[in-house]
């Protein structure tokens, strides 16, 4: 007969698989569930079950959503001619918080990583191209982290999107609001200087 695992230990083991969750936090959480009202815990279990059963990728933007097309893609107030490409679903929320964007999104679900053998096939690049070919899109904004993997992904996309009659833009790299020049690294400062913007024209 197979040995039955202690449910507390099993839960700690499973929780540790959550990204960013160490043994201490997993144990703390498991004890919390043990003490919490049964209704609350069963509600969480049901939410997890529904998450697996009902969440899917939006057929338009590849973001995970309860319905397809997702709320953003189905919103008539959003401009479908401007697509903001992000590496991960979690990057949409901060961009929305900025209040500066009214277009739609496309989620790649990762970045290219040659050393980890993550190529274009592993990302949602083909759906992006299909989307661009099928609809009148005027601008693609690349809002991907400026890490080496992120920049590699942007270079790859820029190469794919050139000659398609699109405006392709990317978020500039430079000083963060409230930061201090004295404590900013020289490469970021150099990039900020090279990409400086004109604020007034020379007096004649």
């Amino acid at each position: 007969m197979a040995a039955v695992k202690d449910p507390l230990r099993l839960l700690v083991e499973l929780l540790q698989k959550v990204p960013g969750m160490g043994e201490k936090s997993a144990t703390r959480m498991a004890y919390h569930f043990m003490k919490a009202p049964a209704q609350e815990v069963l509600g969480l279990a049901e939410a997890l079950r529904r998450l697996k059963a009902e969440m899917r990728e939006c057929e338009e933007c590849c973001d995970v959503s309860f319905r397809s097309p997702c709320e953003t893609c189905a919103n008539p107030k959003r401009d479908p001619a401007v697509i903001c490409v992000v590496a991960d679903s979690s990057h949409i929320k901060p961009l929305e918080r900025s209040g500066a964007y009214a277009g739609v999104y496309h989620v790649l679900h990762g970045t290219l990583s040659p050393m980890e053998n993550v190529g274009p096939e592993q990302l949602r690049i083909a759906p992006l191209l299909r989307r661009i070919e099928g609809r009148p899109v005027c601008e693609v904004i690349l809002a991907i982290n400026p890490t080496m993997e992120g920049e590699t992904t942007m270079l790859y996309l820029m190469d794919l999107l050139k000659d398609r009659g699109l405006r392709v833009t990317k978020l500039p790299v430079g000083l963060a609001l409230g930061s201090d020049i004295e404590y900013t690294d020289h490469e970021t400062l150099g990039k900020a200087l090279r990409d400086r913007v004109q604020v007034s024209s020379r007096a004649t």
Binding site: P19, G20, M21, G22, S25, L112, P114, M115, E116, N117, G119, T147, M148, E149, E151, T152, L155, Y156, D159, D185, H186, E187, T188, G190, K191
Partner: protein, 256 residues
Amino acid sequence: MKSIATEAVVLRRTPFGESDLLVGLFTRDLGVLTTIAKGARRSRKRFGGILDTLARLNVLIETRRANAIPLLAGASLVDFGLGLRSSLDRVAIAYYMGELVWRGTKPGVRLIELYEAFVQALDRVASDGPMPRTLAEFLLRYQQALGYRPKLDACALCHAPLAVAAEVAISYRAGGVLCPACVPSAEVNLRLPGRAVRSLVEIRAQGDRRPTDHALEDWSAAADWPALRHFLHRFTQYHLDVQPASWRWWQRLIDA
């Protein structure tokens, strides 16, 4: 506890635990090693955004117990490698060289000459230097540093000096070029134009002397680069049993 200050290039970054980052480094004084950057993902105060792949840093590494992962106690930026990010080719070559270092060298083994070769090659690739020659130089120095230097100026089997020829046979198993007399008794893996082999000998003879940009542009073997690239890669793969994922990625770019 022992603290070591050295220069290093970041080769790998892997999230670890709740807020830490495992950072794979190729250091000047300690070879390749994996360090742990505590809290690097939670707070940007200590490291900012500088722990990025292929960034060159001055690092402070603290070793604690014998089997514990060394602690990355501090880091400051030397070069972020922004020039590498100007084209996919440059990125692909930089990743390829980095992966060879990571997979082909033993952790903790000091390889200063290879470190210098790697950093020089990254600089040249980042600063618009011609990439084929830079990569050929790096691969030759890589093979030499790891003890698998291919014999190119004399037969790898009978050691007879190589006569000028239009085509030269190569055997990975024998360890380099073959003279016509030894070809029938050896396993020949490929044949290279004689001028391409001579250009590799010339590159190696120049040693650490940094050629001028003019010399780089005039590299006589540029036309033979696809064959040379194939040879240098396969020879490395045969002797070091390294199959870099980034090579396949780069090949896809070339094919596209």
